[in-house]
């Protein structure tokens, strides 16, 4: 007998509990990842998916964002059938794409098209973190470039809601070049007087943050959104020191001069509307009347 056996724990049998587990249907309740408050999903939805207790902005997918932003949730979509290919024949990429499509119901990480905001016509590109962590490959780059070009040729304002982990590794160099492609398109559009409002949502990092998302004539962000270039873990490993708690939040970026304004979700539509008005954008009705 060894000494450690003297200290071994006695084994008890477990008897199944008589009390039935409380029967809560899946999806009825939601627990805030920030403060832990449990809320009814219906209630949360009514509150634009913002925690009523701490104000944490839950992540939205592209269609939830569109429903909240565009009049009647109506979008005339561009390039809805565009899908990724596997140009690098990267191990596991095709399977991952299929899995992401099934999971999110999207074909890639961005939805683009036209709609109106309080009657003001706009071209929008809305990214969705639930597809492949919003990563930008050839499809996202091409759809955003086409959206910029459409806004240019139709003389419409452009609004991009970004959320992305950055360039999509599985398309390596082609992903990287989408940064140059989208930025070059913005150079033309903005050079010719086009209005571009960029809205950072949680999280926007890497190649998206370092290209079109940072190039708005106005850069807005939702409260608490993570915005930065390099990931926190990478930075901590590189500089080997603890970073402040608010590091890379929207508020941190506002404080360091990288944003024009942090806007609460309930005020986002009216803020965009106001900016469009201040640029003399004509409402769709008045165009019809002419």
């Amino acid at each position: 007998m060894q000494i450690k056996d003297l200290f071994s724990k006695k084994k008890y049998a477990t008897i199944p509990s008589e009390r039935p587990k409380r029967d809560i249907p899946e999806g009825l309740m939601n627990k805030c990842s920030k403060c832990g408050t449990i809320q009814y999903s219906k209630e949360l939805e009514k509150n634009l998916k913002v925690c009523s207790s701490c104000g944490h902005h839950y992540r939205l997918n592209a269609w939830e964002r569109i429903a909240m932003t565009l009049d009647g949730g109506r979008l005339t979509q561009y390039d809805e059938d565009m899908e990724s290919v596997d140009p690098l024949t990267f191990p596991g990429y095709e399977a991952k794409l299929e899995q992401q499509k099934a999971k999110s119901g999207l074909k890639d990480s961005v939805v683009t098209g036209e709609g109106t905001i309080d009657g003001y016509p706009v071209v929008v590109a809305v990214m969705s973190f639930d597809f492949f962590t919003g990563s930008m490959g050839s499809v996202a780059g091409e759809k955003i470039t086409r959206a910029i070009e459409a806004a240019h040729s139709k003389s419409l304002p452009l609004i991009i809601f970004s959320t992305s982990s950055g360039a999509r590794m599985q398309e390596s160099i082609l992903s990287l070049m989408q940064m140059a492609k989208t930025s070059a398109a913005l150079s033309r559009f903005q050079g010719d007087g086009g209005l571009y409002i960029s809205v950072f949502t949680d999280p926007t990092t890497g190649g998206v943050s370092a290209s079109f998302a940072s190039l708005g004539d106005y850069n807005l962000a939702e409260p608490g959104a993570l915005i930065g270039f390099a990931g926190r873990i990478v930075i901590e490993q590189t500089i080997r020191q603890k970073l402040p708690d608010n590091f890379q939040t929207a508020e941190f970026n506002l404080q360091h001069g990288q944003l024009d304004k942090v806007v609460h979700r309930k005020d986002m539509k009216s803020t965009l509307s106001k900016l469009l008005d201040l640029h003399g954008v004509k409402k769709e009705e008045s165009i019809d009347a002419e």
């Binding site: 109506r74 059938d81 899908e83 590794m169 390596s172 140059a180 492609k181 270039f229």
Partner: protein
């Protein structure tokens, strides 16, 4: 630090053997000349075999070789009358980026490059060639100057990536990269970029929006360093060699993707084996491309650069699902749920024409 890389070991051993035989033949007075000749022949053959079929991982190691020539080495060999200029006029002078005025074949140009250090102390001062926002903004300032005075811009790309640190984030690393991409797209002067070592991510691209992008034979260029990719994909940074294979990072791959215009050959064994020969071949290639670009006016140069990047990317149009859906239901529903929104989304850009898979 050894000058030879692990995969070069067979050659090193063979050379050692030859040396031993030579000293033996001198010392003992025995004639080994036939054996030596044979071994030298074998060595040459081995070198040719090895260096003509380098794997992406082996190229990555060559691109990172500590003796590989840096931007300043090439600037010194290719240009004359170089005057280095400093500072971004906003915050500081980032030594990870160097730049200034020089003459190429007698023509004044602006030359800019990432600058790795030559030793540990130098590397610390230069952040191992990883620029902060102020480095990228210095580059931008010099490029704007070039644009104003109508000078061509030559850039050398050689960085693991933009510096990942809290100070860089505070000062807007993302914005600095993004702004360079947009501004470079709009300059009315020729821009020729040469990837001389490692082209890592946004920090590399921020000097890389050129009319022509050339690459040394063993240089690499990717969205994320193979080490970074390995640690994300497999939670193991030491599998960088494997990631290097998967990510298609070599000059040959990038030429096939249309990302670069030309591969500049390296001396056998890598650029560090002969700086002067390498500098000469870069000079010849850059001069040739520059001559073509100098024939264009500002508008043409901007258009040329736009089209270069506009066509990069591969995708397809898949409308098979649409066809299989019952068409009658599509026209009516006007609700906010996702599925019906998609169905009601109306016309898109010439989809039918492009229904077949397309590779751009």
């Amino acid at each position: 630090m050894p000058n030879e890389l692990p995969f070069e070991k067979p050659i090193v051993e063979l050379r050692q053997k030859i040396k031993e035989l030579k000293s033996l033949s001198v010392g003992k007075g025995i004639d080994f000349s036939e054996e030596i000749l044979r071994l030298e022949e074998r060595c040459k053959q081995l070198e040719e075999e090895l260096y003509s079929e380098l794997t992406p991982a082996q190229k990555m190691h060559l691109a990172r070789h500590h003796q590989r020539p840096t931007s300043l080495d090439f600037i010194g060999s290719i240009f004359t009358d170089f005057i280095e200029l400093h500072g971004d006029r906003l915050f500081a002078d980032d030594l990870a980026v160097v730049g200034g005025l020089a003459k190429l074949n007698g023509i004044p140009v602006t030359v800019i490059g990432h600058q790795r250090g030559k030793d540990t102390r130098d590397n610390i001062a230069r952040f191992f060639g990883s620029p902060h926002p102020e480095g990228l903004r210095k580059a931008l300032r010099l490029m704007q100057q070039a644009n104003k005075f109508g000078r061509p811009i030559i850039t050398f790309i050689d960085t693991k990536g933009a510096y990942p640190g809290n100070t860089a984030e505070e000062r807007g690393q993302s914005e600095a990269i993004a702004r360079n991409l947009r501004e470079m797209a709009g300059f009315g002067v020729p821009i020729v970029c040469v990837v001389i070592g490692e082209g890592g991510s946004g920090g590399a691209l921020a000097l890389g929006v050129g009319n022509r992008v050339l690459m040394l034979e063993n240089a690499i260029y990717s969205a994320i360093s193979p080490n970074g990719a390995a640690s994300i994909l497999w939670k193991d940074a030491s599998r960088a060699d494997q990631a290097a294979e998967a990510m298609k990072i070599t000059a040959k791959d990038l030429l096939a993707f249309g990302v670069i215009e030309e591969i500049i050959p390296e001396p056998q064994g890598g650029a560090h084996r002969d700086l002067e020969v390498q500098a000469e071949s870069i000079k010849t290639a850059v001069t040739r491309h520059l001559e073509e670009l100098l024939a264009m006016n500002a508008t043409e140069l901007i258009e040329d650069r736009y089209q270069k990047f506009r066509k990069i990317g591969e995708f397809q149009f898949v409308s098979a699902e649409k066809a299989s859906e019952p068409p009658a239901l599509e026209a009516e529903a006007v609700t906010l749920d996702e599925a019906s929104l998609k169905k009601n989304s109306g016309e898109t850009l010439e989809q039918d024409k492009e229904a077949a898979p397309q590779i751009n």
